[in-house]
Symmetry: C2
Subunit: 395 residues, 2 copies
């Protein structure tokens, strides 16, 4: 999982790289020790689907095909749960979710997510006959951009690959967006619409919380000298992860000497949350993502609980949602709170900034950055050296 | 006003330049004839001010000093009106407004706005003893970025100068933002806070409409073989500009063979609107900016009227406002419409996208892009050749 090229990332000098140069220098000075990039790269792809049970859609992609695609991304499957409407995979780096009409792949570290994209689309479209509808690539600004490899070394190269691949599969109108300050916490999106469809009322959304600077008492819960289902389940229990959403069935793994991942399925067989924890002090990070459809009150409470588990020094919250979800969260009285709205976390966190982008037809995306009101003074009770992780052969 | 370097703009290859390459190629193919870049670069600077009448603040900057600063930007003053709380200047390229506590400079074409910044700040701070509070630089994506000169040839170079100058005057935390798609209609902002002040309830805002693809019957109103106050006043009258805001006193100039600028003062002596028109078919553009404080209904009606004067094929609307303005526009019932909200122009225009950025404390900025619902089929009744403009010596 660790790979530290001695040279900087490939690709041309660039505006955004230039603007980030100062930021990088700072991060390099702070981190003389090895670091792990918890920040995930994420691809979400929607396919046209008949809605008929017999039509497997993207779930027809075989395990061996996924192994091949993920090998290109330089990660592997370590756990698989087949749910009613969803295949949920834990990867050596993050997670993969496959529904009939949707694929979500998240990979962290220095994986090469975009390296598997063409093979995936080629198989889905040309071999399985699936029809592409929408492709969305996103990621937060990296903690350690200088350690990223291949096209992930620069936004320019990422966008170049996305533009080329999307064009080859029929969409020449994709575009890139940077939400937030170029030289600070920001979120990158690539959006490509392969078909003009009315996606207003699918009630489709995705909420992602990216948490940094976890305190010692939280980090220490995700260290263990052995990796097994029992150890991982203990971590889910003791950390409070099991209590984030009532009735969630948590499939968890842990890494040695530290690290944790889980996919949790909710009772409808298509809702999930997924958590990935990088507990090393020098690069502590935890992410929580969910697609659960619920009221504004329950969603805000879910966010509060997820944040309460990890007590981050700062976090970013992204929300990509169709108009149906926005209306549902607003409620009949139009008073429901959207996840990114100022003030949701006022007691413990202060919102630093909010960016929103609304597309013409159906979706909006937002990212908010928060910082903890508590003064952070870590008490150094946990080993601070980030060392290579291994997953037990049990998985 | 025209300057067409045979080589591309200076500066390093860059992400955003790379991402725009395709767009540029398109625009170059479309425009073999000379073009004028109507899109303004804009600087807004707030100073600490005592509020006392005897304290001139930034209005103490002399005419000869402005001549010197504007010469660095490569433009000149062609008209000046001293109002109660505001000096309003029409420039050879756009406008300059000076209040005790605020300066707004807009320059279009291939002017070098940032080239005058250091001299301006040096004079204001070190010679007049003014205290900087906030500096904001913004511009829409250029129609013809390949013709921009100096640092305006790349976002990277613009940001580099802004970062350096702001740092030298005490602010190292400035940041750049791109609102909208990197390879499409977007708006660039640089924001630097020199002081942490509560600017929530100054009722300060700025609304800017940048209109493209004006129809022939609109463009033809801004052509004339002679330039004079009488001709310009006729243009203000016949185009409907005089009727945009009741009671506005319009100070207008025109250029030969075409082009028009005005500053209009409203009755409180500090509110204004300003309009700049580039009527050539190959690059038609008009901008309308106002700082008028009014109800949501009146503001939306003002926008409607400004858009109705120019009937653009597409336009972008930006709004930078403090929380006081937002609350005032929302009204007591919280139902007031903000200028950028979807649906304001539903009859004639379709909103393509909206980007919003909310800062932690006090301000929010937004940009929305609209396209006309009418099918555009220009009937070629007006000369399409853009030729050098001159301002009559009368001004």
């Amino acid at each position: 999982m660790y790979d530290f090229p001695t040279q900087g990332p490939p690709g041309m000098a660039s505006d955004i790289k230039q603007l980030m140069r100062e930021e990088r220098r700072d991060s390099q000075e702070d981190s003389q020790e090895p670091t792990f990039e918890g920040t995930e790269k994420r691809i979400e792809i929607d396919f046209v689907w008949s809605g008929e049970k017999a039509d497997l859609g993207a779930r027809a992609i075989s395990r061996s095909m996924w192994d091949k695609i993920l090998a290109l991304c330089e990660c592997t499957i370590v756990s698989h749960k087949a749910l009613k409407r969803l295949d949920a995979y834990i990867l050596s780096e993050s997670s993969l979710f496959v529904c009939a009409d949707k694929i979500i792949i998240k990979t962290c570290g220095t994986t090469l997510l975009l390296q598997g994209l063409r093979t995936l689309l080629d198989h889905a479209v040309n071999e399985l006959g699936l029809e592409l509808e929408w492709l969305f690539y996103s990621r937060k600004s990296f903690l350690f951009p200088e350690f990223q490899r291949g096209v992930h070394g620069s936004l320019e190269d990422e966008v170049s690959v996305l533009r080329e691949v999307c064009k080859d599969f029929g969409c020449s109108t994709g575009n890139a967006y940077v939400l937030g300050p170029l030289n600070g916490d920001h979120w990158i999106m690539w959006n490509a619409d392969f078909k003009e469809v009315d996606s207003n009322y699918r009630y489709d959304h995705n909420l992602d919380i990216m948490m940094y600077d976890l305190p010692d008492d939280v980090r220490s819960k995700f260290f263990s000298s052995s990796a097994s289902g029992t150890v991982a389940d203990g971590m889910s229990e003791e950390s409070g992860i099991c209590d984030i959403y009532p009735g969630a069935v948590v499939d968890a793994i842990n890494f040695t000497p530290c690290g944790y991942s889980c996919n949790a399925s909710l009772d409808d067989g298509e809702s999930f949350f997924t958590i990935h924890v990088t507990p090393e002090e020098s690069c502590s990070y935890a992410s929580f993502e969910t697609n659960v459809r619920c009221s504004s009150e329950i969603l805000v409470e879910t966010i509060r609980r997820a944040v309460a588990v990890f007590k981050p020094g700062r976090f970013s919250l992204t929300h990509v949602a169709d108009n149906g979800i926005i209306k549902e969260l607003r409620g009949k009285d139009n008073l429901g709170i959207l996840p990114y709205e100022h003030g949701v976390f006022d007691t413990d966190y202060k919102v630093k900034a909010t960016s929103t982008y609304r597309w013409e037809l159906d979706y909006q995306a937002s990212v908010s950055s928060y910082v903890s009101r508590r003064s952070l003074s870590p008490s150094k009770t946990v080993s601070t050296i980030a060392s290579p992780r291994t997953v037990s052969s049990e998985y």
